[in-house]
Protein backbone atom coordinates (compact mmCIF):
# COMPACT_ATOMS: atom_id res chain seq x y z
CA UNK A 1 0.00 0.00 0.00
CA UNK A 2 1.27 3.48 -0.64
CA UNK A 3 2.72 5.09 2.44
CA UNK A 4 1.75 8.69 2.75
CA UNK A 5 4.91 10.77 3.05
CA UNK A 6 3.32 13.68 4.75
CA UNK A 7 0.43 14.68 6.97
CA UNK A 8 -1.73 17.20 5.37
CA UNK A 9 -2.77 19.46 8.21
CA UNK A 10 0.53 20.21 9.89
CA UNK A 11 3.63 22.04 8.78
CA UNK A 12 5.58 19.94 6.33
CA UNK A 13 9.21 19.35 7.13
CA UNK A 14 10.35 19.96 3.58
CA UNK A 15 9.19 23.51 3.03
CA UNK A 16 9.92 25.75 0.16
CA UNK A 17 10.16 29.40 1.11
CA UNK A 18 6.73 29.98 -0.40
CA UNK A 19 5.10 27.79 2.22
CA UNK A 20 6.16 30.17 4.96
CA UNK A 21 4.23 33.01 3.38
CA UNK A 22 0.97 31.36 4.36
CA UNK A 23 0.98 31.84 8.10
CA UNK A 24 -0.63 29.22 10.21
CA UNK A 25 -2.83 31.39 12.33
CA UNK A 26 -6.47 31.09 13.09
CA UNK A 27 -7.17 31.47 9.41
CA UNK A 28 -7.03 29.25 6.43
CA UNK A 29 -3.73 27.99 5.27
CA UNK A 30 -3.43 27.24 1.60
CA UNK A 31 -2.39 23.66 1.32
CA UNK A 32 0.86 24.17 -0.55
CA UNK A 33 2.26 20.83 0.49
CA UNK A 34 1.28 19.55 -2.93
CA UNK A 35 3.73 21.98 -4.52
CA UNK A 36 6.67 20.22 -2.92
CA UNK A 37 8.01 17.23 -4.76
CA UNK A 38 7.48 13.93 -3.02
CA UNK A 39 10.33 11.84 -4.22
CA UNK A 40 10.41 8.40 -2.69
CA UNK A 41 13.77 8.45 -1.01
CA UNK A 42 15.95 5.76 -2.52
CA UNK A 43 18.50 4.80 0.04
CA UNK A 44 18.32 4.51 3.73
CA UNK A 45 20.09 7.60 5.03
CA UNK A 46 17.84 9.26 7.56
CA UNK A 47 19.77 12.42 8.11
CA UNK A 48 20.10 15.27 5.66
CA UNK A 49 22.87 17.84 6.07
CA UNK A 50 20.73 20.51 7.73
CA UNK A 51 19.61 18.24 10.49
CA UNK A 52 16.22 17.59 8.89
CA UNK A 53 15.17 13.97 9.07
CA UNK A 54 13.59 12.43 6.01
CA UNK A 55 10.16 10.90 5.96
CA UNK A 56 10.12 7.15 6.46
CA UNK A 57 10.47 5.29 3.19
CA UNK A 58 10.25 1.74 1.97
CA UNK A 59 12.51 -0.21 -0.32
CA UNK A 60 11.94 0.20 -4.02
CA UNK A 61 11.38 -3.06 -5.91
CA UNK A 62 13.96 -4.08 -8.46
CA UNK A 63 12.36 -3.51 -11.86
CA UNK A 64 13.79 -2.57 -15.19
CA UNK A 65 11.17 0.11 -15.83
CA UNK A 66 10.30 1.81 -12.58
CA UNK A 67 8.03 4.48 -14.05
CA UNK A 68 5.91 1.90 -15.84
CA UNK A 69 5.72 -0.12 -12.66
CA UNK A 70 4.57 2.97 -10.77
CA UNK A 71 1.83 3.64 -13.31
CA UNK A 72 0.66 0.04 -13.21
CA UNK A 73 0.56 0.08 -9.45
CA UNK A 74 -1.60 3.19 -9.48
CA UNK A 75 -3.96 1.61 -12.00
CA UNK A 76 -4.26 -1.47 -9.83
CA UNK A 77 -5.22 0.53 -6.79
CA UNK A 78 -7.63 2.80 -8.64
CA UNK A 79 -11.01 1.06 -8.93
CA UNK A 80 -13.17 1.88 -11.90
CA UNK A 81 -16.01 4.18 -11.03
CA UNK A 82 -18.81 1.66 -11.47
CA UNK A 83 -21.86 3.72 -10.69
CA UNK A 84 -24.28 6.30 -12.00
CA UNK A 85 -24.80 9.60 -10.24
CA UNK A 86 -26.20 12.81 -11.57
CA UNK A 87 -27.14 16.28 -10.43
CA UNK A 88 -28.54 19.35 -12.10
CA UNK A 89 -29.57 22.89 -11.20
CA UNK A 90 -33.00 24.11 -12.16
CA UNK A 91 -35.35 26.89 -11.17
CA UNK A 92 -36.37 25.33 -7.85
CA UNK A 93 -32.91 24.28 -6.68
CA UNK A 94 -30.69 21.26 -7.29
CA UNK A 95 -31.82 17.75 -8.06
CA UNK A 96 -29.43 14.95 -7.07
CA UNK A 97 -29.90 11.29 -7.96
CA UNK A 98 -27.84 8.10 -7.82
CA UNK A 99 -28.07 4.34 -8.11
CA UNK A 100 -27.07 2.00 -5.28
CA UNK A 101 -25.00 -0.82 -6.70
CA UNK A 102 -21.47 -1.65 -5.57
CA UNK A 103 -19.51 -3.99 -7.82
CA UNK A 104 -16.10 -5.60 -7.61
CA UNK A 105 -15.31 -6.51 -11.21
CA UNK A 106 -18.17 -8.81 -12.24
CA UNK A 107 -19.38 -9.48 -8.72
CA UNK A 108 -22.18 -7.31 -7.33
CA UNK A 109 -21.17 -6.79 -3.75
CA UNK A 110 -24.18 -4.75 -2.72
CA UNK A 111 -27.43 -3.42 -4.12
CA UNK A 112 -28.11 -1.00 -1.30
CA UNK A 113 -25.22 1.43 -1.04
CA UNK A 114 -25.97 5.01 -0.02
CA UNK A 115 -24.28 6.99 -2.75
CA UNK A 116 -25.72 10.35 -1.80
CA UNK A 117 -23.87 11.57 1.25
CA UNK A 118 -25.40 14.16 3.54
CA UNK A 119 -22.58 16.57 4.34
CA UNK A 120 -24.83 18.87 6.35
CA UNK A 121 -28.52 19.83 6.26
CA UNK A 122 -28.09 22.03 3.19
CA UNK A 123 -25.34 20.28 1.23
CA UNK A 124 -25.13 16.89 -0.46
CA UNK A 125 -22.24 15.00 -1.98
CA UNK A 126 -22.40 12.09 -4.41
CA UNK A 127 -20.20 9.03 -4.34
CA UNK A 128 -18.42 7.62 -7.36
CA UNK A 129 -15.13 5.74 -7.33
CA UNK A 130 -13.75 4.29 -4.13
CA UNK A 131 -16.50 4.03 -1.55
CA UNK A 132 -14.19 4.42 1.42
CA UNK A 133 -12.45 7.42 -0.10
CA UNK A 134 -15.74 9.17 -0.86
CA UNK A 135 -17.29 8.45 2.52
CA UNK A 136 -14.24 9.43 4.51
CA UNK A 137 -13.49 12.67 2.67
CA UNK A 138 -17.11 13.77 2.61
CA UNK A 139 -17.31 13.21 6.35
CA UNK A 140 -14.09 15.16 6.74
CA UNK A 141 -15.55 17.94 4.59
CA UNK A 142 -18.60 18.01 6.84
CA UNK A 143 -16.32 18.56 9.81
CA UNK A 144 -14.51 21.41 8.07
CA UNK A 145 -17.81 23.03 7.07
CA UNK A 146 -19.07 22.90 10.63
CA UNK A 147 -15.85 24.39 11.98
CA UNK A 148 -16.14 27.19 9.43
CA UNK A 149 -19.70 27.88 10.57
CA UNK A 150 -18.67 28.03 14.20
CA UNK A 151 -15.69 30.25 13.58
CA UNK A 152 -17.34 32.67 11.19
CA UNK A 153 -20.96 32.59 12.39
CA UNK A 154 -22.22 31.96 8.91
CA UNK A 155 -22.59 28.95 6.70
CA UNK A 156 -19.87 28.10 4.26
CA UNK A 157 -20.77 28.61 0.61
CA UNK A 158 -20.97 25.67 -1.82
CA UNK A 159 -18.06 27.32 -3.63
CA UNK A 160 -15.99 27.30 -0.48
CA UNK A 161 -16.86 23.74 0.50
CA UNK A 162 -16.08 22.36 -2.94
CA UNK A 163 -12.81 24.30 -2.96
CA UNK A 164 -11.79 22.82 0.39
CA UNK A 165 -12.44 19.31 -0.89
CA UNK A 166 -10.67 19.97 -4.19
CA UNK A 167 -7.58 21.29 -2.42
CA UNK A 168 -7.42 18.21 -0.20
CA UNK A 169 -7.83 15.83 -3.15
CA UNK A 170 -5.20 17.73 -5.12
CA UNK A 171 -2.70 17.29 -2.34
CA UNK A 172 -3.23 13.50 -2.53
CA UNK A 173 -2.92 13.47 -6.29
CA UNK A 174 -1.20 10.42 -7.70
CA UNK A 175 -1.55 8.47 -4.47
CA UNK A 176 -4.41 6.26 -5.54
CA UNK A 177 -7.45 8.09 -4.22
CA UNK A 178 -10.45 7.51 -6.43
CA UNK A 179 -13.16 10.12 -5.96
CA UNK A 180 -15.57 11.52 -8.52
CA UNK A 181 -18.03 13.56 -6.58
CA UNK A 182 -20.52 16.34 -7.01
CA UNK A 183 -21.13 18.87 -4.27
CA UNK A 184 -24.64 20.25 -4.43
CA UNK A 185 -26.10 22.80 -2.09
CA UNK A 186 -28.00 25.99 -1.56
CA UNK A 187 -26.21 29.03 -0.12
CA UNK A 188 -26.58 32.83 0.02
CA UNK A 189 -26.07 33.11 -3.71
CA UNK A 190 -28.67 30.45 -4.54
CA UNK A 191 -28.25 26.86 -5.77
CA UNK A 192 -24.69 25.67 -6.38
CA UNK A 193 -23.28 22.57 -8.08
CA UNK A 194 -19.62 21.62 -8.42
CA UNK A 195 -17.90 18.52 -9.78
CA UNK A 196 -14.73 17.58 -7.87
CA UNK A 197 -12.47 14.64 -8.63
CA UNK A 198 -9.41 12.92 -7.29
CA UNK A 199 -7.20 14.30 -10.05
CA UNK A 200 -7.75 17.65 -8.35
CA UNK A 201 -10.18 18.97 -10.94
CA UNK A 202 -13.06 21.18 -9.93
CA UNK A 203 -15.77 22.37 -12.29
CA UNK A 204 -18.78 24.57 -11.76
CA UNK A 205 -21.80 23.69 -13.86
CA UNK A 206 -25.53 23.28 -14.27
CA UNK A 207 -25.65 19.53 -15.15
CA UNK A 208 -23.28 16.73 -14.29
CA UNK A 209 -23.32 12.96 -14.36
CA UNK A 210 -20.50 10.84 -13.01
CA UNK A 211 -19.73 7.14 -13.27
CA UNK A 212 -19.71 4.26 -15.72
CA UNK A 213 -23.41 4.78 -16.43
CA UNK A 214 -23.07 8.50 -17.02
CA UNK A 215 -23.16 8.43 -20.86
CA UNK A 216 -26.59 6.79 -20.71
CA UNK A 217 -27.79 9.17 -18.01
CA UNK A 218 -26.55 12.20 -19.97
CA UNK A 219 -28.53 11.04 -22.98
CA UNK A 220 -31.80 11.12 -21.10
CA UNK A 221 -30.91 14.12 -18.92
CA UNK A 222 -29.72 16.41 -21.70
CA UNK A 223 -32.73 15.50 -23.80
CA UNK A 224 -35.33 16.22 -21.15
CA UNK A 225 -33.74 19.16 -19.31
CA UNK A 226 -35.45 22.52 -19.02
CA UNK A 227 -34.49 25.22 -16.52
CA UNK A 228 -38.05 25.97 -15.50
CA UNK A 229 -39.29 22.57 -14.47
CA UNK A 230 -41.29 21.94 -11.35
CA UNK A 231 -39.82 19.86 -8.56
CA UNK A 232 -41.91 16.84 -9.58
CA UNK A 233 -40.93 17.10 -13.24
CA UNK A 234 -37.27 17.40 -12.34
CA UNK A 235 -37.48 14.44 -9.97
CA UNK A 236 -39.08 12.33 -12.68
CA UNK A 237 -36.35 13.34 -15.15
CA UNK A 238 -33.63 12.42 -12.69
CA UNK A 239 -35.30 9.10 -11.90
CA UNK A 240 -35.68 8.21 -15.55
CA UNK A 241 -32.08 9.08 -16.31
CA UNK A 242 -30.81 6.83 -13.54
CA UNK A 243 -33.16 4.07 -14.61
CA UNK A 244 -31.92 4.14 -18.20
CA UNK A 245 -28.33 4.09 -17.05
CA UNK A 246 -28.96 1.07 -14.82
CA UNK A 247 -30.75 -0.65 -17.69
CA UNK A 248 -27.71 -0.56 -19.96
CA UNK A 249 -24.75 -0.35 -17.59
CA UNK A 250 -23.90 -3.54 -15.73
CA UNK A 251 -22.13 -1.73 -12.92
CA UNK A 252 -25.19 0.36 -12.00
CA UNK A 253 -28.40 -0.88 -10.47
CA UNK A 254 -30.29 -1.35 -7.26
CA UNK A 255 -32.34 1.59 -6.06
CA UNK A 256 -32.63 4.98 -7.76
CA UNK A 257 -32.60 7.62 -5.00
CA UNK A 258 -33.64 11.16 -5.77
CA UNK A 259 -32.93 14.13 -3.50
CA UNK A 260 -33.93 17.76 -3.87
CA UNK A 261 -31.90 20.67 -2.43
CA UNK A 262 -33.97 23.79 -1.90
CA UNK A 263 -33.67 27.01 0.04
CA UNK A 264 -34.44 25.19 3.28
CA UNK A 265 -32.02 22.34 2.77
CA UNK A 266 -32.19 18.93 1.17
CA UNK A 267 -35.02 16.44 1.21
CA UNK A 268 -35.12 12.87 -0.02
CA UNK A 269 -37.90 12.58 -2.54
CA UNK A 270 -37.88 8.92 -3.53
CA UNK A 271 -35.99 5.68 -3.61
CA UNK A 272 -37.36 3.26 -6.20
CA UNK A 273 -36.04 -0.14 -7.13
CA UNK A 274 -35.03 0.12 -10.78
CA UNK A 275 -36.49 -3.27 -11.60
CA UNK A 276 -39.90 -2.01 -10.52
CA UNK A 277 -39.33 1.25 -12.40
CA UNK A 278 -38.73 -0.82 -15.51
CA UNK A 279 -42.18 -2.31 -15.33
CA UNK A 280 -43.65 1.12 -14.56
CA UNK A 281 -42.19 2.56 -17.72
CA UNK A 282 -42.66 -0.52 -19.87
CA UNK A 283 -45.61 -2.44 -18.50
CA UNK A 284 -46.02 -6.01 -19.59
CA UNK A 285 -48.53 -6.25 -22.39
CA UNK A 286 -50.08 -9.50 -23.42
CA UNK A 287 -48.58 -10.29 -26.82
CA UNK A 288 -50.85 -11.54 -29.52
CA UNK A 289 -50.07 -15.17 -30.06
CA UNK A 290 -49.27 -15.62 -33.70
CA UNK A 291 -49.24 -19.32 -33.85
CA UNK A 292 -50.39 -22.00 -31.52
CA UNK A 293 -48.77 -25.36 -31.27
CA UNK A 294 -51.47 -27.92 -31.88
CA UNK A 295 -51.35 -31.50 -30.98
CA UNK A 296 -51.62 -33.61 -34.03
Amino acid sequence: MWHSTKSHDKQVIFCKSTAFLFVQGMGMKLNTSALESHRLVIGTSDELPNGFSTAPSFEIPNTTDFDCFQKEAIQMVKPAKGTTTLAFIFKEGVMVAADSRASMGGYISSQSVKKIIEINPYMLGTMAGGAADCQFWHRNLGVKCRLHELANKRRISVTGASKLLANILYSYRGMGLSVGTMIAGWDETGPGLYYVDSEGGRLKGMRFSVGSGSPYAYGVLDNGYRYDMSVDEAAELARRAIYHATFRDGASGGVASVYHVGANGWKKLSGDDVAELHYNYYPVEPTIVEQVMVET
Binding site: V23, G25, G27, L30, I156, S157, T159, K163, T189
Partner: protein
Protein backbone atom coordinates in the same frame (compact mmCIF):
# COMPACT_ATOMS: atom_id res chain seq x y z
CA UNK B 1 18.72 25.00 17.70
CA UNK B 2 19.39 28.38 19.32
CA UNK B 3 17.62 29.04 22.60
CA UNK B 4 14.51 30.85 21.32
CA UNK B 5 12.37 29.30 23.98
CA UNK B 6 12.81 31.86 26.74
CA UNK B 7 9.54 33.72 27.01
CA UNK B 8 9.74 37.46 27.23
CA UNK B 9 6.13 37.93 28.22
CA UNK B 10 5.66 36.23 31.58
CA UNK B 11 3.15 36.77 34.34
CA UNK B 12 3.97 39.01 37.28
CA UNK B 13 3.06 37.80 40.77
CA UNK B 14 -0.11 39.86 40.74
CA UNK B 15 -1.31 38.58 37.38
CA UNK B 16 -0.09 41.31 35.00
CA UNK B 17 1.63 40.80 31.70
CA UNK B 18 4.01 43.71 31.91
CA UNK B 19 5.29 43.46 28.36
CA UNK B 20 1.75 43.79 27.06
CA UNK B 21 1.11 46.76 29.32
CA UNK B 22 4.32 48.41 28.19
CA UNK B 23 3.19 47.80 24.63
CA UNK B 24 -0.03 49.65 25.46
CA UNK B 25 2.15 52.52 26.72
CA UNK B 26 3.88 52.58 23.35
CA UNK B 27 0.46 52.83 21.75
CA UNK B 28 -0.44 55.73 23.99
CA UNK B 29 2.57 57.59 22.66
CA UNK B 30 1.62 56.98 19.05
CA UNK B 31 -0.28 59.39 16.87
CA UNK B 32 -3.99 59.87 17.46
CA UNK B 33 -6.37 57.84 15.35
CA UNK B 34 -10.15 57.85 15.30
CA UNK B 35 -12.78 55.73 13.59
CA UNK B 36 -16.50 56.43 13.28
CA UNK B 37 -19.15 54.12 11.87
CA UNK B 38 -22.21 55.51 10.11
CA UNK B 39 -25.12 53.81 8.44
CA UNK B 40 -23.54 53.73 5.00
CA UNK B 41 -19.97 54.94 5.58
CA UNK B 42 -17.11 54.33 7.97
CA UNK B 43 -14.48 57.01 8.43
CA UNK B 44 -10.89 56.78 9.64
CA UNK B 45 -8.95 59.82 10.71
CA UNK B 46 -5.31 59.95 11.75
CA UNK B 47 -3.15 62.72 13.13
CA UNK B 48 -0.33 63.59 10.78
CA UNK B 49 2.72 64.93 12.53
CA UNK B 50 4.31 67.64 10.46
CA UNK B 51 6.44 66.09 7.74
CA UNK B 52 10.03 67.14 7.43
CA UNK B 53 10.65 69.48 4.51
CA UNK B 54 12.75 67.03 2.55
CA UNK B 55 10.48 64.05 3.18
CA UNK B 56 8.18 62.84 0.45
CA UNK B 57 4.85 62.93 2.23
CA UNK B 58 3.24 60.48 -0.18
CA UNK B 59 5.39 57.66 1.14
CA UNK B 60 4.02 58.11 4.65
CA UNK B 61 0.53 56.74 4.26
CA UNK B 62 -1.07 56.16 7.63
CA UNK B 63 -4.37 54.68 6.44
CA UNK B 64 -3.82 51.58 4.30
CA UNK B 65 -6.11 49.07 2.72
CA UNK B 66 -5.95 45.38 3.37
CA UNK B 67 -8.25 44.56 0.47
CA UNK B 68 -10.69 46.42 -1.76
CA UNK B 69 -13.28 46.58 0.98
CA UNK B 70 -11.21 46.77 4.19
CA UNK B 71 -8.96 49.53 5.50
CA UNK B 72 -6.78 49.88 8.58
CA UNK B 73 -5.32 52.70 10.63
CA UNK B 74 -3.08 52.22 13.62
CA UNK B 75 -1.37 53.91 16.50
CA UNK B 76 2.00 52.83 17.82
CA UNK B 77 5.17 51.42 16.34
CA UNK B 78 5.00 51.92 12.61
CA UNK B 79 7.53 49.20 11.78
CA UNK B 80 5.46 46.63 13.65
CA UNK B 81 2.45 47.93 11.75
CA UNK B 82 4.10 47.25 8.42
CA UNK B 83 4.76 43.60 9.33
CA UNK B 84 1.23 43.07 10.64
CA UNK B 85 -0.34 44.73 7.61
CA UNK B 86 1.64 42.55 5.21
CA UNK B 87 0.56 39.39 6.98
CA UNK B 88 -3.07 40.58 7.01
CA UNK B 89 -2.95 41.38 3.29
CA UNK B 90 -1.64 37.91 2.51
CA UNK B 91 -4.37 36.36 4.67
CA UNK B 92 -7.04 38.32 2.79
CA UNK B 93 -5.86 36.83 -0.50
CA UNK B 94 -5.32 33.37 0.95
CA UNK B 95 -8.91 33.38 2.19
CA UNK B 96 -10.11 34.39 -1.27
CA UNK B 97 -8.16 31.49 -2.76
CA UNK B 98 -9.44 28.84 -0.40
CA UNK B 99 -13.11 29.78 -0.10
CA UNK B 100 -13.50 32.03 -3.16
CA UNK B 101 -15.03 34.75 -1.02
CA UNK B 102 -13.57 38.04 0.25
CA UNK B 103 -12.94 38.17 3.98
CA UNK B 104 -15.48 39.65 6.35
CA UNK B 105 -14.23 42.48 8.55
CA UNK B 106 -14.69 40.31 11.62
CA UNK B 107 -12.61 37.51 10.11
CA UNK B 108 -9.59 39.62 9.31
CA UNK B 109 -9.84 41.40 12.66
CA UNK B 110 -9.89 38.03 14.38
CA UNK B 111 -6.85 37.03 12.37
CA UNK B 112 -4.88 40.16 13.25
CA UNK B 113 -5.85 39.91 16.90
CA UNK B 114 -4.87 36.23 16.88
CA UNK B 115 -1.48 37.18 15.48
CA UNK B 116 -1.01 39.85 18.14
CA UNK B 117 -1.96 37.36 20.85
CA UNK B 118 0.46 34.76 19.52
CA UNK B 119 3.31 37.15 20.07
CA UNK B 120 2.36 37.46 23.74
CA UNK B 121 2.68 33.74 24.22
CA UNK B 122 5.75 32.77 22.24
CA UNK B 123 9.38 32.39 23.07
CA UNK B 124 11.91 35.00 22.17
CA UNK B 125 9.50 37.59 20.78
CA UNK B 126 7.93 40.75 22.12
CA UNK B 127 4.34 41.83 21.56
CA UNK B 128 3.44 44.10 18.63
CA UNK B 129 3.39 47.67 19.86
CA UNK B 130 0.30 48.89 18.09
CA UNK B 131 -3.47 49.08 18.27
CA UNK B 132 -5.36 48.98 15.03
CA UNK B 133 -8.68 50.38 13.88
CA UNK B 134 -10.12 48.21 11.12
CA UNK B 135 -13.04 49.35 9.00
CA UNK B 136 -14.84 47.84 6.10
CA UNK B 137 -17.97 46.41 4.57
CA UNK B 138 -18.83 42.73 4.64
CA UNK B 139 -19.19 41.15 1.19
CA UNK B 140 -22.76 40.42 0.07
CA UNK B 141 -24.44 41.86 3.17
CA UNK B 142 -22.72 45.27 2.86
CA UNK B 143 -22.94 45.91 6.58
CA UNK B 144 -20.38 48.55 7.69
CA UNK B 145 -18.16 47.68 10.62
CA UNK B 146 -15.47 49.21 12.80
CA UNK B 147 -13.24 47.01 14.95
CA UNK B 148 -10.32 47.72 17.25
CA UNK B 149 -7.49 45.40 18.26
CA UNK B 150 -4.76 45.98 20.83
CA UNK B 151 -1.36 44.47 21.74
CA UNK B 152 -2.91 41.93 24.08
CA UNK B 153 -4.82 40.40 21.20
CA UNK B 154 -8.34 41.38 22.22
CA UNK B 155 -10.72 42.82 19.70
CA UNK B 156 -14.21 44.20 19.68
CA UNK B 157 -16.61 46.06 17.45
CA UNK B 158 -17.30 49.74 18.03
CA UNK B 159 -19.67 52.44 16.83
CA UNK B 160 -16.85 54.94 17.26
CA UNK B 161 -13.46 54.70 18.89
CA UNK B 162 -10.12 56.40 19.21
CA UNK B 163 -6.62 55.19 19.96
CA UNK B 164 -3.16 56.65 20.34
CA UNK B 165 -2.28 60.01 21.85
CA UNK B 166 -5.07 61.61 23.88
CA UNK B 167 -7.48 58.87 22.97
CA UNK B 168 -9.35 59.33 26.22
CA UNK B 169 -10.41 62.88 25.42
CA UNK B 170 -11.41 61.87 21.91
CA UNK B 171 -13.43 58.97 23.24
CA UNK B 172 -15.17 61.22 25.76
CA UNK B 173 -16.04 63.63 22.98
CA UNK B 174 -17.40 60.80 20.87
CA UNK B 175 -19.44 59.42 23.74
CA UNK B 176 -21.02 62.79 24.27
CA UNK B 177 -21.64 63.61 20.63
CA UNK B 178 -22.16 60.32 18.86
CA UNK B 179 -25.33 59.72 16.94
CA UNK B 180 -26.22 57.59 13.94
CA UNK B 181 -25.06 59.52 10.92
CA UNK B 182 -24.53 58.88 7.27
CA UNK B 183 -22.32 60.20 4.51
CA UNK B 184 -20.72 63.58 5.07
CA UNK B 185 -22.05 63.85 8.63
CA UNK B 186 -19.98 60.82 9.64
CA UNK B 187 -16.88 62.41 8.15
CA UNK B 188 -17.54 65.61 10.05
CA UNK B 189 -18.00 63.76 13.33
CA UNK B 190 -14.69 61.98 12.89
CA UNK B 191 -12.84 65.19 12.08
CA UNK B 192 -14.46 67.02 14.99
CA UNK B 193 -13.25 64.31 17.33
CA UNK B 194 -9.76 64.52 15.92
CA UNK B 195 -9.74 68.30 16.16
CA UNK B 196 -10.21 68.04 19.93
CA UNK B 197 -6.62 66.93 20.25
CA UNK B 198 -4.91 67.92 17.03
CA UNK B 199 -4.05 71.33 15.66
CA UNK B 200 -6.62 72.23 13.10
CA UNK B 201 -5.84 72.24 9.41
CA UNK B 202 -5.65 69.81 6.52
CA UNK B 203 -1.87 69.57 6.93
CA UNK B 204 -2.22 67.80 10.25
CA UNK B 205 -5.01 65.36 9.58
CA UNK B 206 -5.30 62.43 7.22
CA UNK B 207 -8.86 61.22 6.58
CA UNK B 208 -10.16 58.29 4.56
CA UNK B 209 -13.76 57.37 3.87
CA UNK B 210 -14.87 53.79 3.24
CA UNK B 211 -18.14 53.18 1.45
CA UNK B 212 -19.34 49.98 -0.10
CA UNK B 213 -17.69 51.18 -3.32
CA UNK B 214 -14.27 51.27 -1.69
CA UNK B 215 -11.81 53.47 0.12
CA UNK B 216 -11.32 57.14 -0.72
CA UNK B 217 -8.55 59.24 0.78
CA UNK B 218 -9.59 62.86 1.19
CA UNK B 219 -7.06 65.36 -0.06
CA UNK B 220 -5.88 68.40 1.86
CA UNK B 221 -8.21 70.84 0.17
CA UNK B 222 -11.28 68.75 1.00
CA UNK B 223 -10.21 68.38 4.60
CA UNK B 224 -9.58 72.11 4.89
CA UNK B 225 -13.05 72.78 3.54
CA UNK B 226 -14.68 70.49 6.08
CA UNK B 227 -12.60 71.95 8.88
CA UNK B 228 -13.74 75.40 7.84
CA UNK B 229 -17.38 74.20 7.94
CA UNK B 230 -16.86 72.80 11.41
CA UNK B 231 -15.30 76.01 12.68
CA UNK B 232 -18.19 77.99 11.25
CA UNK B 233 -20.71 75.71 12.95
CA UNK B 234 -18.83 76.02 16.22
CA UNK B 235 -18.80 79.79 15.97
CA UNK B 236 -22.51 79.85 15.23
CA UNK B 237 -23.17 77.60 18.22
CA UNK B 238 -21.10 79.89 20.44
CA UNK B 239 -23.01 82.91 19.26
CA UNK B 240 -26.34 81.22 19.83
CA UNK B 241 -25.27 80.23 23.35
CA UNK B 242 -24.46 83.81 24.20
CA UNK B 243 -28.06 84.54 23.40
CA UNK B 244 -29.73 87.47 21.78
CA UNK B 245 -28.72 90.82 23.29
CA UNK B 246 -30.63 91.38 26.52
CA UNK B 247 -33.05 94.17 26.85
CA UNK B 248 -32.13 96.44 29.66
Amino acid sequence: MARYDRAITVFSPDGHLFQVEYALEAVRKGNAAVGVRGTDTVVLGVEKKSTAKLQDSRSVRKIVNLDDHIALACAGLKADARVLINRARIECQSHKLTVEDPVTVEYITRYIAGLQQKYTQSGGVRPFGLSTLIVGFDPYTNVPSLYQTDPSGTFSAWKANATGRNSNSMREFLEKNYKETSGQETVKLAIRALLEVVESGGKNIEVAVMTKEGLRQLDEAEIDAIVAEIEAEKAAAEAAKKGPPRDT
